[in-house]
């Protein structure tokens, strides 16, 4: 599966409403979880972590990570500040906020419930 290109073109009126909303939401959740688990990270770090975890099953344009980070920033679930990276490059570090943790807990629970249901349904079909 590839999140190749976000199918969102800014409509001239109103906020963007994306067709790949589900995938976006998933990516946001992964980014949020990453920041929750590893503490403050820059965009590059987030991309590395997701790459590592998905074991190459999820190939993504790393630029989309920034779209995700911006969305999370705008919702107030993460915050950012400038710092120095490992090799002393200026980089923006993102960290999860309290509201972000709350949201993550809520989303994790609902994700598990839904994926559980979907899993059961799919298994049901394969028995016949």
């Amino acid at each position: 599966m590839a999140i190749a290109k976000e199918l969102c073109y800014p409509s001239p009126l109103g906020m963007t409403k994306d067709r790949s909303e589900v995938l976006q939401g998933t990516l946001d959740l992964m980014v949020l979880k990453t920041l929750d688990a590893l503490g403050p990270l820059h965009g590059y770090g987030v991309a590395r972590r997701i790459e590592q975890l998905s074991e190459e099953t999820l190939r993504l344009n790393e630029g989309t990570v920034y779209a995700s980070l911006l969305r999370l920033l705008q919702k107030g679930w993460i915050r950012s500040e400038w710092g120095a990276s490992e090799n002393n490059r200026r980089a923006k570090f993102y960290s999860i906020t309290r509201a972000g943790r709350k949201h993550l807990a809520r989303e994790t629970e609902s994700w598990e419930r839904i994926s559980g249901v979907i899993g059961r349904v799919l298994r049901l079909g394969s028995q016949h």
């Binding site: 976000e6 969102c8 800014p10 409509s11 001239p12 009126l13 109103g14 906020m15 963007t16 820059h42 965009g43 590059y44 991309a47 344009n61 790393e62 630029g63 989309t64 920034y66 779209a67 911006l70 969305r71 920033l73 705008q74 919702k75 107030g76 990276s85 090799n87 490059r89 200026r90 980089a91 923006k92």
Partner: protein
């Protein structure tokens, strides 16, 4: 959601910095990726591309970031408007023409709105102004009347719908506490004026109910008077101030800026109706206005029906009192706008039409510009711009134009109001408060948005329809004939609307000129009038003062005649009284009734009203002499048709002992009402037989009237230093004031018509110029084939005239309808004058010829060789 929006709005304003930061972020990400690939063994160039591949489209990410971070609509709009302005800057001549057109339209709209807003829409400056109602009694025929004190007391006592019902009337007062005496405008009111309005005095208190009792003299001062005359001394409370020679106790000072009645000029003090002690039991002395505050939850209609019932009871109790058949309860705001409402609505209608013409003109300009830009649009479409994007571009360009126009329009309206407002004098209540305020600005911007949608709609649709393949073909005629027809149609619409406006303006101008040149029945030139603030209750002394004053005034060099009279011509039906005709007695409700006035001997000579028959009053016609009257011609014709009126006797119901009075003279008809059509019947009393009060002084001069002003002041002061003269006006000023409102409306309408004419001419010019440019080749061929200069000129003029003719034909129906409406809205308009219609048509034809001249000359001077070569 809100948080996101806030962050986006914030983002919109810190765009540049945020973008820089994001660039840095992306760059360092790419660097790190590249280093990683190098570490895995790639060479630097390979690693650079690998990093870019893995990151994805850098530009897309940045664009995405930009759009997500700011409010999209806001951002897109801002960007579009910025681009639109930069495109407009490049097309200077087009922009100037379109913006000027819109500025004229929007400016006129803003000016009329400012006036309408101030005079009609703006609420009264009191708390809960919606509950303030004007109250009048109404006779059987539905004519509203003033109230008398007994009527007012009855209404006040029995009504259950008003929290407070207050009567008031204007009066002039002389402050005689120190020298020189000053004359100020004041109002005589019932005690609860302040509670009724919901206003607290700045100092002291309002009146108490018992202060209405005769013999108590209390006064509330205006803030202005308190500051100017008494130095803002807070110790003024409780002090006695001499007004009209009588000591009044100051009980309070009104709040700063407080004004009541709202339409009066600078009211400086208020006293209670205890000052009207003599009138309080005269049921026939109708001189009061009334205003009330409705109880909460009571509607105007409920109040009206309750008051009507009270009026019915009063009418049964006093059968002779036929002016109190019903009542009228109407919002005070509506009463204030009163007679000026209809003319203002006429102006609003005219300005709407003007705005439409301006829109059409701008649309035409845009269409012409589109023709030049066809390739640009085609190219953009071919490169993948959506139709929507092109429509959006056109609309934002329109909006930018509209905003430019609104800016210019506000400036224009500012100047226009400055020039035009003084014309109205004080004929429209509250008009002088008109200013360009935030509401007018908001209205102008709204107009800009509305008009921009109107005028850019057709051009936008047309641009979006452009066929890229056709337009990009070399030398192709991109815009089809249909487009020309559409533009011609727009010009026809302009001429149609222009005709309607022209006819309306001509009708008004004709009506106005008729008013200016009509026979007023008296000679307004070389006439000086003023009031004398004499407060002398003793009749004998008052008459003596009057005699001596007129003697002194007559002695002034340059004064030919001096007299007093009240009311003067053009002052309206201020005094009307019923009378019995000796030969034909009638029952009380059917007694004839008309205007009356009280004048001194020599009044008719001073006013320039001719004596037609019989004699004038003389000094001997005093209280001891036989009771007599002089009447005007209209009176003689109406009440004694075909008879000799001299020697006839009538008994007017004025004065303590009404007597049969013999008519001894007939004078010419002087206009009593400012705008009446027919002469009003009137009968004149000799002052000494009805010395109610000192009338207005009129001086007939042989020098310019204002030259004797200071001598007149000195003459009055020499009699009594405590008497002030005020309200000095020349006869010309009086006759001008009577038609000021008409002058105001006519001037504005004339201005609108001229603008409409210019715009229609400009529109026609544009279409013809374009047509000539497009047909250059064809014209070249014609000339090459031997067409004469004249024929080529004719070609263009024919096109011009066919457009004008079409516009006129369509406009005739509109003009007829508009003049009928105008006739019902404004006094003195006589619709259906064929000359007026012909005049308007002529003006449009001349405009058409003028507009066609340049394009026609250009066509005739086409060089066939050049024209054909460029084909």
């Amino acid at each position: 959601m809100l948080r996101e929006l806030l962050s986006r709005i914030q983002g919109s304003f810190r765009r540049r910095r945020l973008e820089q930061e994001f660039d840095d972020e992306v760059r360092s990400h790419l660097e790190m990726l590249k280093e990683r690939f190098i570490a895995r063994g790639m060479d630097p160039a390979e690693a650079f591309y690998a990093a870019r591949r893995q990151f994805g489209g850098v530009t897309q990410v940045k664009q995405d970031f930009r759009e997500r971070r700011s409010v999209p609509v806001f951002y897109v709009l801002l960007e579009d408007v910025r681009q639109a302005f930069s495109r407009l800057r490049k097309a200077k001549r087009f922009t100037a023409a379109a913006a000027l057109t819109l500025a004229l339209g929007i400016g006129a709209g803003a000016a009329v709105f400012a006036v309408l807003d101030t005079v009609v829409l703006r609420p009264l400056p009191y708390p809960e102004p919606g509950r303030l109602m004007a109250f009048r009694s109404v006779d059987q025929r539905g004519t509203p009347h003033h109230l008398s004190y007994p009527d007012f007391f009855d209404f006040r006592k029995h009504n259950r719908v008003f929290e407070h019902l207050v009567c008031y009337r204007d009066a002039a007062f002389t402050l005689t506490d120190s020298l020189p005496p000053i004359q100020v405008a004041g109002a005589i009111v019932s005690w609860d004026l302040f509670p009724m309005l919901g206003v607290q005095p700045a100092l002291g208190r309002g009146f108490l109910p018992e202060e209405e009792n005769p013999g108590t003299h209390t006064v509330l001062l205006s803030h202005r008077l308190w500051k100017s005359r008494f130095g803002g001394d807070p110790g003024i409370l409780g002090r006695a101030v001499r007004i009209n020679g009588v000591p009044f106790t100051v009980i309070g000072v009104g709040p700063p800026g407080f004004q009541f009645p709202a339409e009066a000029a600078a009211v400086e003090l208020w006293v209670t109706l205890s000052e009207d002690a003599t009138a309080r039991d005269q049921r026939g002395a109708r001189m009061l206005d009334a205003i009330g505050r409705l109880k909460p939850g009571v509607s105007a209609r409920q109040a009206q029906s309750e008051m009507d019932q009270l009026a019915g009871a009063l009418a049964r109790q006093y059968p002779g009192n036929k002016n109190v058949a019903r009542t009228l309860v109407l919002p005070e705001l509506r009463r204030l706008a009163g007679s000026s409402l209809k003319p203002l609505l006429v102006l609003a209608g005219a300005v709407a039409m003007l705005l439409l013409i301006a829109c059409v003109n701008t649309a035409n300009l845009l269409l012409a510009r589109n023709a030049e830009r066809a390739r640009e649009f085609a190219l953009r479409t071919a490169l993948g711009a959506s139709r929507l994007a092109i429509v959006r571009q056109m609309l934002t360009e329109g909006l930018a134009l509209g905003l430019l126009g609104a800016g210019g329009g506000v400036l224009l309206s500012f100047g226009a109001l400055k020039a035009v407002l003084p014309l109205a004098g004080d004929s429209v209540p509250r008009l002088s408060d008109t200013s360009i305020d935030a509401r007018v600005l908001a209205f102008s911007i709204a107009l800009a948005v509305l008009t921009s949608v109107l005028f850019s709609f057709a051009p936008a649709v047309q641009a979006a329809r452009a066929d890229p393949a056709g337009a990009l073909k070399e030398g192709a005629r991109t815009i089809a004939r249909g487009h020309d027809r559409f533009r011609s149609g727009l010009v026809v619409v302009q001429i149609t609307l222009g005709l309607v406006l022209l006819v309306a303006a001509e009708l008004l101008a004709a009506g106005f000129l008729h008013l200016v040149h009509r026979d007023l029945g008296f000679r307004a030139g070389e006439l000086l009038t003023f009031d004398v603030g004499l407060a002398e209750p003793n009749v004998t002394r008052q008459i003596a003062f009057c005699d001596r004053m007129l003697e002194h005034l007559r002695a002034i060099p340059g004064v030919q005649a001096a007299a007093t009279g009240t009311p003067l011509p053009l002052e309206g039906h201020q005094m009307r009284a019923a009378f019995d005709i000796e030969q034909r007695p009638a029952a009380a409700p059917d007694r004839p009734r008309c205007d009356t006035a009280i004048v001194t001997p020599g009044y008719f000579r001073a006013m320039g009203i001719p004596l037609l028959k019989g004699r004038d009053f003389s000094e001997r016609d005093d209280a001891q002499a036989a009771p007599i009257l002089v009447v005007n011609q209209a009176f003689a014709r109406k009440y004694f048709p075909g008879e000799d009126v001299i020697g006839k006797r009538i008994r007017p119901g004025l004065g303590p002992t009404p007597a049969m009075r013999e008519i001894v003279g007939v004078v010419g008809d002087a206009k009593q009402a400012a705008l009446g059509a027919d002469p009003d019947p009137i009968y004149y009393y000799p002052y000494k037989q009805l010395p109610w009060f000192l009338g207005t002084v009129v001086l007939r001069t042989v020098v310019p009237p204002l030259a004797v002003e200071s001598a007149a002041r000195a003459a009055v002061a020499s009699l009594d230093r405590h008497v002030a003269i005020h309200g000095i006006r020349t006869g010309k000023e009086r006759s001008a004031a009577a038609i000021a409102q008409m002058q105001f409306v006519t001037t504005l309408m004339g201005g609108f018509a001229i603008i409409a004419l210019l715009l229609a001419g400009a529109g026609l010019y544009g279409v013809l110029s374009y047509a000539v440019a497009r047909r250059r080749g064809e014209i070249g061929v014609r000339i090459a084939l031997g067409a004469a200069h004249k024929e080529v000129l004719g070609l263009v003029f024919r096109q011009a005239m066919s457009l004008v003719a079409a516009g006129l034909v369509l406009g005739l129906a509109g003009a007829a309808a508009a003049s009928r409406v105008l006739g019902t809205m404004i006094y003195g308009i006589r619709p259906g004058d064929p000359l007026i219609l012909a005049g308007a048509c002529c003006m449009l034809v001349i405009t058409g010829i003028a507009a066609a001249y340049v394009p026609a000359a250009r066509a005739a001077s086409v060089d066939p060789m050049q024209a054909l070569r460029s084909e």
